[in-house]
């Protein structure tokens, strides 16, 4: 009996507290739910600073922030956005299976009116908004309504160790021929010219994709990515780029055993420890390199892979990062838009830049001869000249496996482009 009474008392207490809690949260306070992918420890202060500013400007508004890794964010987004109390503001992945599917299911709010109101169109180059745009039915990519605004940018280029270059008498290659000559010079001097690891699959998309972009025109790549009339993977440029990749592998220009090396530890470690002279990867590594190398970071530079077709500004893989979008059924769309305006503003860009990010809104002044300065200059060059290319897996989800097969010589360059084409056609 005693125990029973105790249990009853406990239940009553529990009921009272939950009812009290429900009452207190029922008061007219607005909670804006925001999902983003800024997971690194050092980034928390930056986002919290922005959120504090927003809450200060809007008394009664609380921002409830949830942080996810990009892959988790992408997988949770459709289900979360279908919920009545899902995130008001959320970062969504670009491309057909990301933003396209969400638009098709009617889960995202078109942002055109807000873009007019806040002047988002002028935040960055016009062509870049296409990456966050879809037709209303979610079928056509790169056209129609705007569904997201990005605050970061990415460019896939070449990180290099300045002291190794100096030692073997190299300067930053300005042409494709100079770049290939540099590879040979470095190999002759006993260095691994390019650190590379393809175990994770996706780094192969970036490394081979960089070569592919050097041979291609923006039209070819745009047609392929946006599935425009005549868009195809079977191009002369792609076959040549695959042949070039095989040639470089056979010449020993990449890390030996790259098939068995992962990105985060092995490849990154190799570059940091100067086991190789160059690394073809994205601007997102700048922050880590600066953090890990400290003062030595300025010994690392960044340049764009030159064009193999003699273009002055090379076509380069890149784009704007995961965009912020608004849930179609959000009860506070205006507030959500205002939040997006803040986190994509030049002020936010300055904070992002401090964290080693490449902000979509170019910082006004950068120090020259620093790694961050190099990266910003490279981005400014390609975005102002309309030379920003694409990640190929946006439309060919299996391409990493196809590239691995091609690199291992399991298939010829011609078979390779045909395999990707098949994947491209079947994933339509």
């Amino acid at each position: 009996m005693k125990r029973l009474r105790l249990l009853l008392v406990l239940i009553v207490i529990l009921l009272m507290t939950t009812v009290g809690f429900m009452q207190s949260s029922a008061q007219e306070e607005v909670t804006l739910v925001v999902w983003d992918n800024f997971t690194r420890e050092a980034e928390q202060a930056m986002i919290e600073e922005l959120n504090a500013r927003f809450e200060e400007a809007h008394p009664g508004v609380t921002i409830q922030r949830e942080i996810y890794e990009t892959s988790d964010l992408t997988q949770l987004a459709p289900r979360a956005l279908s919920e009545a109390n899902g995130p008001d503001v959320i970062m969504v992945n670009q491309g057909y299976t990301g933003m396209g599917a969400l638009v098709e299911a009617g889960l995202l709010l078109p942002l055109n009116a807000y873009a007019d109101q806040y002047g988002w169109w002028d935040r960055y180059a016009e062509g870049l908004h296409a990456r966050n745009s879809f037709s209303e039915d979610g079928q056509e990519f790169g056209t129609g309504n705007l569904y997201g605004v990005s605050n970061t940018a990415e460019v896939v280029g070449v990180y290099y160790h300045k002291d190794i270059f100096e030692e073997v008498g190299l300067s930053v290659p300005a042409t494709w021929e100079e770049f290939e000559a540099a590879l040979q010079t470095l190999a002759d001097a006993g260095y691994t010219p390019i650190v590379f690891g393809s175990l994770d699959g996706w780094p192969a998309i970036h490394t081979w994709g960089a070569i592919e972009h050097a041979y291609s025109s923006l039209n070819e790549i745009d047609d392929f990515i946006y599935r425009r009339e005549g868009g195809t993977f079977v191009t002369e440029a792609n076959i040549t780029a695959a042949e070039k990749m095989r040639e470089w592998i056979e010449a020993g220009y990449f890390t030996p055993g790259f098939e068995g090396m992962d990105y985060d530890n092995a490849t990154y470690g190799d570059f940091i420890n100067k086991a190789g002279a160059m690394w073809i990867t994205g601007s997102w590594m700048t922050g880590s390199i600066i953090a890990d190398l400290g003062e030595d970071a300025d010994n690392v530079g960044f340049f764009l892979l030159p064009s193999a077709t003699g273009e002055e500004v090379p076509l380069t893989i890149g784009g704007v990062g995961l965009p912020y979008a608004i849930r179609a059924t959000s009860e506070h769309p205006d507030l959500a838009a205002e939040y997006i305006d803040l986190v994509t503003s030049p002020d936010a860009a300055a904070l992002l830049f401090e964290q080693g990010y490449l902000p979509a809104v170019a910082p006004e002044s950068v120090e020259e001869n620093t790694l961050a300065g190099d990266v910003v200059a490279a981005w400014n060059l390609i975005s102002s000249n309309n030379k920003v290319g694409h990640y190929l897996d946006w439309t060919a989800p299996d391409i990493a496996a196809d590239i691995q097969e091609m690199m291992a010589g399991q298939v010829s360059p011609e078979e390779f482009v045909n395999n990707v084409e098949e994947d491209y056609k079947s994933s339509e």
Partner: protein, 318 residues
């Protein structure tokens, strides 16, 4: 009897009688049974059977996972039939049966024969140590082996050290060796389960059989072959079915070791395809059709094995 109850040796008996008498009164045996089954049944229905039925239903729909499902009959299954990736994945699953089932059972038998007949000091430690891989989280196992298989990792370092540097391979990224590398990790995980099952089974074998065998001059190998092995038939069957199911539904190890099936699609398995279709490609209906097909294969083969076994027992009995 009466005075015995006073000395404290048997109050439990009277207690049991009272209990039995009391509980029998309000219920018939049948309703009582149902009452006891009910909680488990409700949980089973809600969390196992309903989702399975849901999966079957979705497999007949074109469904992104969040849009309204559109009924398309058996189209998903028709597509599945022509899907080369799916065929490759199922083929890999059966390839992994060698590593998940056959090698662990042989290894388990070998270890059991070593451990059961000799009295070694510290046997409990060995037994526990050998069982550890089985109880570790597959993700942890995957991360450890990924590191071991690293191109400049411990395995290749050891090979260099002992002068076999020409054997060095980018194991998990090599088109020829990656399936064996992933499979061998599976063997490492599964043999512990087989070993423990066999060790338990061998203790149930009548010691007199061994004594008789010894009297007739059987050496340890013959004892194992003629006494232990036949006595372990049931345990081998259980080990076979359990590890076989693991081989067909493997996901986590492949997901961690080769990032979901690389290089190319050399190590891709069905569960990975189910996952990719459902969550990455927004093809939940198609993924469901794959899952249903895989489940059907597993159930069919398990049922066949048990049926063969029971028939075998019947013929032995008569």
């Amino acid at each position: 009897m009466q005075n015995l109850s006073g000395n404290g040796a048997l109050p439990s008996r009277t207690f049991m009688q009272r209990l039995r008498r009391k509980s029998v009164v309000p219920f018939s045996n049948k309703s009582q049974a149902i009452l006891f089954i009910l909680p488990g049944l409700v949980i089973y229905l809600t969390f196992v059977l309903l989702p399975i039925l849901g999966t079957v239903r979705y497999s007949l729909h074109d469904w992104t996972g969040f849009s309204p499902p559109e009924y398309i009959g058996f189209d998903n299954y028709r597509e599945l039939y022509r899907d080369e990736d799916f065929r490759k994945a199922i083929g890999n699953n059966f390839f992994f049966v060698i590593f998940y089932t056959i090698i662990p059972i042989l290894l388990g038998l070998f270890l059991t024969s070593l451990m059961s007949r000799s009295k070694l000091k510290g046997m409990a430690i060995f037994r526990t140590g050998l069982f550890v891989p089985q109880v570790m989280s597959p993700v942890v196992v995957g991360i450890i082996w990924r590191w071991l298989f690293e191109y400049r990792g411990p395995i290749n370092q050891t090979l260099t050290l002992i002068g076999l540097s020409e054997w060095i391979k980018p194991w998990l990224g090599d088109f020829t060796y990656a399936p064996y590398a992933v499979g061998s990790v599976g063997s490492w995980v599964q043999y512990g389960l087989c070993m423990i099952l066999f060790l338990a089974g061998i203790q149930a074998i009548n010691e007199e059989l061994y004594d008789t065998a010894i009297v007739f001059g059987a050496n340890p190998l013959q004892q194992f072959w003629y006494v232990s092995l036949p006595g372990l038939r049931q345990q081998i069957l259980v080990a076979f079915v359990l590890t076989f199911i693991s081989a067909l539904r493997v996901f986590d190890l492949v997901f961690v070791l080769t990032r979901g099936g690389g290089p190319g699609k050399e190590t891709i398995v069905t569960s990975i395809l189910v996952y990719q279709n459902t969550f990455n490609l927004n093809r939940a209906g198609y993924g469901a059709a794959m899952a249903v097909t895989l489940a059907t294969i597993i159930v069919a083969i398990s049922a066949a094995v048990f049926w063969l076994q029971s028939r075998n027992d019947d013929t032995n009995a008569t």
